[in-house]
């Protein structure tokens, strides 16, 4: 994409910025950044745009329709591998090191065919999309536990349908993320592994991104966004209740479920180390063919 549309300024001189996101708890800092005036402080007038499909967010960022987009780490690799010109500019969300606080679980029916982690080796496991972060992180976690992952079958379906499918026995196990984990637990399912934490603790799982062209033309805007997010992420980490409230008001999340849900971490800066590890496994499990060049994929600051 060459050139791209001009940035507009709002009345008080702030730069208007559209940020695309998928409707998850991961979006909380973004909303808080708006409502708490953090973006405004950094000269940005951010509007949040929600889309169900990540497949639409990256083209929108490339077209600079949404100047900033979001995708998880594996999708980022896949987009880059196909030659899409994206730059990762800031951590969105990640995982801590306490398995109990993981936002993600693999769950099974208590009376189902899968009773133990080892049984997962031959499970039919529901994930939201194949060849993606669920599949990769689960395989990573299981390998670290010494389970042979070659026999697992993954079945794609929307998160919202998984509990039902498991209950009916269409699948043997499901991979859920918050807040659906809470609903799954409430339905009486047994969690087996906390795959994000177990795959790699303290990892960044998703990044804010922009098109290479935009990053090149508007380094100071990207910098301002990145700085603002540092603050927003910190704020969200410090005020988990406000983070929960933000997704309830903005994304219509069910307050009961959200109140008990684990929150992801909202890490500072732009973490490359965990991406490196994910890249290795992504190649190994066939999500991408070759490891991405992280130097190119990651934005290296306004100096560049």
């Amino acid at each position: 994409a060459c050139g791209g549309p001009e940035l507009t300024k709002s009345a008080d001189g702030r730069t208007a910025l559209r940020v695309g996101i998928i409707p998850t708890i991961d979006a909380a800092p973004l909303y808080l950044g708006v409502s708490e005036g953090i973006f405004a402080k950094h000269g940005l007038d951010v509007s949040v745009h929600v889309a169900d499909s990540g497949a639409a967010l990256i083209p929108a960022a490339i077209k600079q329709e949404n100047q900033i987009g979001y995708a998880n780490v594996i999708s980022d690799f896949q987009a880059a591998e196909q030659g899409l010109d994206i730059k990762l500019i800031h951590n969105c969300c990640g995982t801590g090191s306490d398995p109990a606080k993981d936002v993600s679980r693999v769950l099974v029916k208590p009376d189902g065919p899968i009773r133990s982690v080892d049984d997962l080796a031959h499970a039919n496991l529901a994930v939201n999309s194949l060849h993606n972060i669920g599949e990769v992180s689960i395989k990573m976690a299981l390998e670290k536990r010494g389970v042979d992952v070659s026999g697992i079958r993954f079945t794609p379906m929307p998160y919202s349908d998984m509990n039902d499918a498991l209950k009916r026995g269409d699948v043997d196990a499901i991979w859920q993320v918050e807040p659906n984990v809470q609903a799954a637990l409430a339905a009486g399912f047994t969690p087996l592994i906390s795959n994000f934490v177990e795959a790699r603790p303290e990892a960044t799982l998703g990044y804010y991104l922009t098109s290479g062209a935009f990053a090149k033309q508007n380094p100071e805007v990207v910098k301002a966004f990145s700085d603002a997010l540092d603050e927003a992420n910190r704020f969200a980490t410090e005020h988990p209740d406000k983070a929960r409230e933000a997704v309830v008001t903005n994304l219509k999340f069910n307050p009961e479920i959200v109140s008990t849900a684990n929150l992801p971490t909202y890490p500072q800066g732009l973490d490359r180390a965990s991406a490196q590890e994910y890249a290795t496994y992504a190649v190994r499990f066939g999500a991408v063919e070759k490891a991405p060049n992280l130097d190119e994929l990651f934005w290296s600051g306004p100096g560049n």
Partner: protein, 273 residues
């Protein structure tokens, strides 16, 4: 004549329809309450209704309804405006039809959903994309209907037009179009649902504001009651739209055998004997 008469015959039908709907609703309630249908993911109507009520009172729902309706309407209008003249042309000029047939048949099965990334890239994530995808899908359906209808002109009627020196355009307007109209109106009712469905689907997938975006949000947020409430609003919208279309159709096609009041009344008399 038609309107008065329609009102008169519509009344008993209305009660019947309402009765059927009530029966179906009660059935759903009973089935979910008794656990024949899994209630936690397919909530009973009373629960959906309870979730819907506060929404009905708020302004937000109506804004979303308005946005979806607007998308539906503009897309259907665009599709009609494009498909009808083209369909008349294809239906009446054999060589144009021959020339374009493979391309038309090739393009028709292209799924709009697969086009989403391309459309987003070309048109962005705004209303334009929604309109494009909905128009694209509705267009082909209307084109088929119009082409078939224009091809079904009675031979004698067409020859009459030729004999009295009607120009090509006049023949299209006064002969081919009215002849195609019964087909076209059916096509419009098919395409109307398609347009609505695609508007809602793009709203779900790329987050254009409207009912679909709400469905997507409530689904992600783990509130199936609310999600079904929005789905039901979508269905109701489709139903209301159809009432409007059917009424319009009766006026427009009052001359068609299907709507000739007397003939129908006699037929009904015979049917009920």
């Amino acid at each position: 004549m038609t309107a008065v008469h329609a009102a008169r015959t519509a009344r008993p039908g209305w009660q019947l329809a309402a009765g059927t709907v009530v029966i179906l609703l009660v059935l759903e309630e009973v089935l979910t309450r008794t656990g024949v249908l899994p209630a936690d993911y397919f909530p009973p109507v009373s629960q959906i209704g309870a979730a819907l009520l506060p929404e009905l009172a708020g302004a937000q729902l109506w804004t979303q309804v308005g946005q979806t309706l607007q998308g539906w309407f503009v897309a259907l209008l665009l599709a009609t405006a494009l498909a009808v003249p083209l369909g008349l042309l294809l239906g009446t000029v054999w060589w144009v039809r021959g020339l374009t047939r493979p391309i038309v048949e090739f393009l028709r099965p292209v799924p709009s959903v697969a086009l989403i990334p391309l459309v987003v890239l070309a048109l962005g994530t705004g209303k334009q994309s929604e309109l494009f995808l909905a128009t694209f899908a509705a267009f082909w359906q209307l084109l088929v209907a119009t082409t078939a209808g224009a091809g079904a002109v009675d031979r004698v009627t067409a020859e009459t037009a030729r004999c009295y020196g009607l120009t090509r355009v006049q023949t299209l307007r006064w002969v081919a179009l009215p002849s195609a109209l019964p087909y076209l109106m059916t096509g419009i009712r098919v395409a109307s649902a398609t347009s609505l469905i695609l508007v809602v689907t793009t709203e779900i997938l790329i987050g254009v504001p409207g009912l679909g975006a709400q469905i997507s949000l409530t689904r992600a947020g783990g509130s199936p009651d609310l999600m079904y409430a929005y789905i039901i609003v979508t269905g109701l919208l489709g139903w209301l739209i159809n009432i409007g279309l059917t009424a319009g159709e009766r006026r427009l096609l009052h001359w068609d055998a299907a709507n000739r009041d007397d003939a129908n009344r006699d037929a009904a008399n015979r049917g009920s004997r």
